[in-house]
């Protein structure tokens, strides 16, 4: 601890603190631009120059380490003169275009110019003009305004993990620019807009639409991945204009992913379903809520009466709120069916009876920043939960090692120590071999059920060594593992490895409320059908809630077939869709997260309630109210809730969630013999802007390079064996489904693997994400 005096105020700070840290601690504001608490110190803007006793020159507070007994003056004549001098330099080439600048009103330069700038300029030469850059569909540039603080550059390099911007040229000719003819494609790129202290980088979708002071700021929670990033939603005239991060160190720090930030465009889109609708003779008609609810009740009652309630199945999206999910399952169960599931993309439910609790992240989100070693199983983490990947990257920068088992090397911007590039069909036996290698290394006996013969190679040993190298170890099962037909096996082996190594098993929630949905009972009970069974054994009626099975289920071909032949399909959705118009009989307009009170339970078990930020659009209504009224129409007792809070109180006890989370499996599951598979299987990743109904309708996100391109990707070896060349049209067959795609050859894909993305209309005619597939040249 060090003693320091700032402006006469005595305080004690940690050894290693900078003067800026000390000033923050003392509540003293030192003007700055390039300094940012989450980025490395650049000390280039020179705005934070302060007077330090015994130093001949003013020193930058951001970069000057505190020494014991240091005396700092932040407002002395020397300091003020230096700060004003820097401000003058910053302004001489800065355009005076505040009236047309989007940053106006939230501009650090504008704010500080009031305090430190002159009322007129001594600079009367021509001002610099810098050409704008095309950084892609999300970030708009006005590079003449740039003050070269390099926050955006450092963010890319240090937080996003990829340097997509740099400062080229020298002196006055310095420019922030991307690599030639490249754009900024990071899934975290929007944070650069927040970081930019001037109007050089602004939001492209938001551009010129409103002034910050016209917008109200309302708190919310991201409806996308399981992190539950905290949001500030900015609204005006009952419309969402912009989304910004709401700082929460334990969850999203001060960042949000691009889909949290830019998905709001969908909330205002033409695709919103705003009227209840009924299909009559193939024609859709707008009707009143009374009519539609009576129609639904009548239809469901009819089917129960004639065929039994077990002919009704309900599928609800884990992006729905806790309250919606609770009422959904409560209503269906009260109506008599247990065919209820929220695990919409999952395919393997064989461990359902063996779970010891609700699958979850395994530890807190923040703990990922300090892990020492990690094994990723079937995970493209940075596209699944971008900010969790950012924490892993932070850990790697501080010495952690990561190994991976994957079917597609997706360039995580982490240097792997041990990478098994294997087809999805070989995930389980590869992980089993790693378990054997771990047992050998640890000198411990294998658990009996895993003592099957398996070939352990040097690669498996390397992966095991990486995992065992650290004290805080994590085995993370990503999307490709969770949706995998052998998920239960993978989870069982991961648990066995954890048993031997002391690792934590992590099953991160891929949707905002996956944990919450399970916690409030949106999983089948009492022999009810799960998300796959309810389509494999077609039902007479389906209630689809916030879910688009043609894009959101493991086997879209099977789902669409079952829906098309059902007697009644009830769709509760915030959006219209061409597919639903085909298979649905009735559509109920419910509100997205922005127009309802609700809550999400994130992947670490934290319940985060939120309120609606705007009023429902059109006749759309908060879904918890719709379900409550539908229950009344069906004359079901116990639905007399008057608020979302009442529903929540009935649905779950926030205090007890953590004790219900557990990734272990009990005795109800046994691993059967595993052997290497050399037939060809599909590898379907769900690209992050294809993962839920909201992102799929956000135009700016849909213009990015992360959107699914419906092509079939194979590695050069497979292409050669099949005599296929790049660019050829190939026919892909899965069970009864067939689609044709252009062939792309890429050595980043494992052998015997055809990578075709999911979540895209062009692939919705195909079957299971990781099922067998055959390829033929057209």
């Amino acid at each position: 601890m060090l003693e320091i005096e700032i402006n006469g105020q005595q305080l004690t700070v940690e050894t290693g603190s900078t003067v800026m840290d000390a000033a923050n601690q003392a509540g003293v504001y030192i003007p700055h631009f390039c300094y940012h608490k989450k980025l490395s110190i650049a000390a280039n803007c020179r705005m934070c120059l302060v007077e330090v006793e015994k130093a001949p020159k003013p020193l930058p507070a951001c970069a000057t380490p505190v020494t014991d007994g240091m005396k700092v003056k932040t407002h002395s004549e020397l300091a003020a003169k230096a700060q004003k001098g820097v401000m003058e330099f910053l302004l001489i080439n800065h355009p005076l275009d505040c009236p047309i600048c989007d940053q106006g009103g939230e501009c650090q330069l504008q704010d500080l110019a009031v305090g430190y700038g002159g009322s007129s300029s001594r600079y009367e030469e021509e001002k610099r003009v810098v050409a704008n850059k095309d950084l892609g569909p999300l970030i708009s540039t006005d590079m003449t305004r740039c003050i070269h603080c390099t926050r955006c550059v450092r963010f890319g390099d240090e937080i996003a993990g990829r340097m997509e911007l740099g400062m080229a040229n020298r002196g006055e000719h310095s420019e922030i620019m991307p690599f030639i003819s490249k754009t900024v494609d990071s899934e975290l790129s929007g944070n650069m807009i927040d970081l930019c202290p001037v109007g050089a980088l602004t939001s492209k979708p938001f551009r010129y639409s409103a002034r910050t002071w016209e917008l109200s700021r309302r708190k919310s929670v991201s409806p996308h991945d399981g992190l539950g990033s905290n949001l500030i939603v900015q609204v005006k005239h009952n419309k969402v204009y912009r989304v910004l991060p709401n700082e929460n160190e334990a969850i999203n720090e001060c960042w949000i992913a691009d889909r949290d930030r830019f998905s709001y465009e969908a909330l205002n889109s033409e695709a919103r379903l705003t009227k209840p609708m009924i299909k009559n003779g193939g024609i859709w008609k707008e009707v009143s809520w009374t009519q539609v609810l009576e129609y639904v009740a009548h239809g469901l009652l009819d089917i129960r009466k004639n065929s039994g309630a077990s002919e009704i199945a309900g599928l609800i999206s884990p992006h729905s709120t806790t309250e919606e999910i609770f009422l959904f399952q409560k209503l269906l169960r009260a109506f008599g069916t247990n065919n209820i599931d929220s695990r919409i993309k999952q395919s393997d439910f064989s461990a359902d009876s063996a779970y010891q609790g609700i699958p979850w992240l395994g530890q807190s989100i923040a703990e990922f920043s300090s892990l020492n070693s990690m094994l990723l199983v079937g995970s493209n983490l940075r596209k699944e939960i971008p900010l969790l990947a950012s924490r892993v990257r932070y850990a790697v920068k501080h010495g952690a090692s990561v190994a991976t088992i994957t079917a597609k090397d997706t360039q995580q911007y982490i240097k792997f120590k041990g990478k098994a590039l294997v087809s999805p069909a070989n995930f389980a036996n590869t992980l089993l071999a790693v378990l054997h290698a771990v047992a050998q290394s640890a000198g411990k006996p294998l658990p009996a059920s895993f003592d099957t013969k398996v070939e352990v190679t040097a690669l498996h040993q390397e992966i095991a060594k990486t995992l065992l190298s650290g004290e805080k170890q994590v085995i993370l099962l990503g999307a490709e593992a969770q949706y995998h037909p052998q998920f239960a096996t993978l989870l069982a082996i991961a648990n066995a490895i954890a048993e031997l190594s002391g690792a934590i098993v992590s099953v991160p929630a891929l949707a905002a409320n996956s944990v919450g949905a399970w916690a409030v009972g949106a999983v089948p009970t009492d022999a009810g059908d799960n998300a796959v069974q309810m389509f494999a054994k077609p039902k007479q009626a389906y209630v689809l809630f916030n879910v688009e099975p043609e894009l959101d289920t493991y086997n879209p071909a099977q789902a669409v077939a079952a829906l098309s032949s059902a007697k009644m399909v009830v769709v509760c959705s915030a959006f219209k869709s061409a597919a639903a118009e085909q298979y649905a009989d009735v559509m109920l307009p419910i509100t997205p997260f922005s127009e309802t009170a609700g809550s999400y339970v994130n992947t670490e078990g934290k319940l985060q309630p939120f309120n609606g930020v705007v009023k429902p659009q059109g006749d759309a209504r908060p879904a918890w109210k719709v379900l409550r009224v539908l229950a009344d129409v069906l004359e079901l007792p116990g639905f007399a809730y008057d608020s979302a809070e009442e529903v929540r109180a009935d649905a779950l006890d926030a205090e007890k969630i953590l004790s219900r989370l557990n990734n272990r499996l009990g005795d109800g599951f046994a691993v059967n013999g595993l052997s290497a598979v050399d037939s060809i299987v599909r590898h379907a990743e769900v690209p992050l802007y294809n993962a839920d109904p909201i992102v799929r309708r956000a135009p700016a996100l849909q213009a990015t390079k992360d959107v699914a391109v419906p092509v079939a990707v194979v590695n050069p070896a497979l292409a050669e064996r099949m005599g296929l060349s790049a660019g050829a049209k190939v026919q892909v067959k899965q069970a009864n489904a067939t689609s044709s795609f252009e062939l792309v050859i890429d050595s980043l894909v494992a052998d015997n693997t055809v990578s075709i993305p999911a979540g895209h209309p062009a692939t919705s005619m195909l079957g299971g994400y990781f099922d067998h597939v055959s390829l033929e040249r057209v």
Partner: protein, 431 residues
């Protein structure tokens, strides 16, 4: 054109002989005997450093920091890699001495670096050579090959347990890469921009490892000190200003070139060596230590001796020893405009005051030179300069301001005349 008086580096070098740079020629002059002496006697590292300290060798790159003291900062017990780096990125306008060292006597530098490596327990060194002198870079590479073939570089030097290898790297023409931390960044393959200090290179240098950086001339002086002793080196100069020093004289003299003379030699003597003023013109002003050093009027210079302390006392600096001589035909506004343009072009652009200020200074001076000056422009120059100097990561902003301050101080009337009459006081001619 290179002209040498005798000195510690060019003693016995016949620059007219096209093979004077070779290993054989160097050894014939007694080259590498200093290294052999150290290795055979297994001289303790501390003794080598003490000898350098005793010699009062001061950094020849411009700052004049005591070399022995710098070497003693190297954490010798640090486990893992450590580096020595030679700064041959000689970009300071007026300076051309390191080029000649590497061209005529590269092995003196190589031997000096090997001795430095020996003294500091370093296994790897780099010589960062100015990008514009490619033929010198190639010669240096050839000299390295010679040294390697002779067992003077590489594993187990001269059969001892001491191993050291040295590599040459050439820059791409940025002045800022002569700043030692920018040089390190550039050497690492990054954009050459100075680093904020602390940490200093001695603890966090190349690739984040302890690193000692010296100028070419400093390293090349080392073999003499070890061979002939610190006292002999010290005697060659004057107290606290040990040794001889290379001066690069340019401008209006009859024989511009490099002169290796004892520190403390009167400027008048140096000027005489350089053949005196060209065409018998009157001496107007001298920049005594490279373009960043404050200019001094001719009459002041004529009373000075060429050493760190004397020049510093007169309000300038010995710097790199680049002596730029100007005669009575030079318009000081025009001369300053040229210098200001240089700093404006060479600022790295990292720090606000330098990025914006160097251009501002240049534009105001440019406007005065072109008859558009305003009465308060000199005050503006002073004010802008004060806002720049001492406010940035490296000293480039200061280097840009020094000439402005000194020109407008010593030749204020010329600037005022220019502003008032919109033309030069003198009938300006460069040559």
């Amino acid at each position: 054109m290179a002209v040498f008086e005798k000195g510690v580096i060019f003693e016995g070098v016949d620059t007219a002989d096209s093979s004077c740079w070779s290993l054989a020629a160097y050894q014939a002059r007694g080259g590498y005997t200093a290294l052999k002496k150290l290795i055979e006697a297994q001289t303790p590292q501390d003794e080598v450093i003490a000898e350098i300290k005793n010699s009062s060798l001061r950094g020849r790159g411009g700052a004049g920091f005591p070399t022995g003291l710098k070497w003693s900062f190297m954490p010798r017990s640090f486990p893992g890699d450590k580096y020595i780096v030679c700064n041959s990125d000689e970009g300071e306008p007026g300076t051309f001495k390191d080029r000649d060292i590497m061209w005529f006597n590269p092995h003196a530098l190589i031997e000096g670096m090997i001795i430095a490596a020996y003294a500091m327990g370093v296994k790897r060194g780099y010589n960062y050579i100015h990008g514009e002198i490619f033929e010198v870079y190639e010669r240096f590479e050839t000299a390295l090959d010679e040294a390697r073939a002779a067992g003077l570089l590489g594993e187990r030097i001269l059969g001892s347990d001491f191993s050291f290898d040295l590599f040459a790297h050439h820059g791409y023409g940025a002045y800022i890469c002569g700043e030692e931390t920018a040089l390190l960044e550039s050497l690492e393959g990054k954009k050459g921009q100075p680093r904020f200090k602390p940490p200093f290179p001695a603890s966090f240098g190349l690739y984040g490892k302890p690193t000692t950086i010296n100028n070419t001339e400093s390293f090349a002086s080392v073999p003499f000190i070890i061979k002939d002793g610190a006292s002999k080196f010290l005697e060659a100069g004057k107290p606290n200003n040990g040794g001889t020093k290379l001066f690069s004289i340019s401008g209006h003299v009859n024989r511009p070139g490099n002169y290796e003379i004892p520190l403390g030699t009167p400027f008048a003597t140096l000027l005489e060596m350089a053949g005196g003023m060209k065409d018998g013109k009157k001496l107007k002003a001298v920049i005594p230590g490279g373009s960043s050093a404050p200019i001094l009027p001719g009459d002041v210079m004529m009373d000075l001796t060429m050493d760190y302390d004397a020049i510093s006392k007169a309000g300038s600096m010995l710097g790199s020893g680049a002596v730029i001589v100007m005669n009575e035909d030079v318009c000081m506004v025009k001369a300053l405009e040229r210098l200001a343009y240089f700093y404006h072009e060479e600022s790295c652009g990292q720090c606000t005051p330098c990025r914006e200020g160097t251009g501002w200074l240049y534009r105001v001076i440019h406007r005065i030179e072109n008859g558009l000056g305003r009465p308060d422009d000199l005050d503006l120059l002073t004010s802008v300069g004060n806002n720049m100097a001492g406010k940035t990561i490296c000293a480039l902003a200061d280097a840009a301001v020094f000439p402005v301050r000194s020109f407008t101080k010593h030749f204020r009337s010329e600037f005022e005349y220019h502003i008032e009459n919109k033309k030069c006081l003198v009938d300006h001619k460069w040559f």
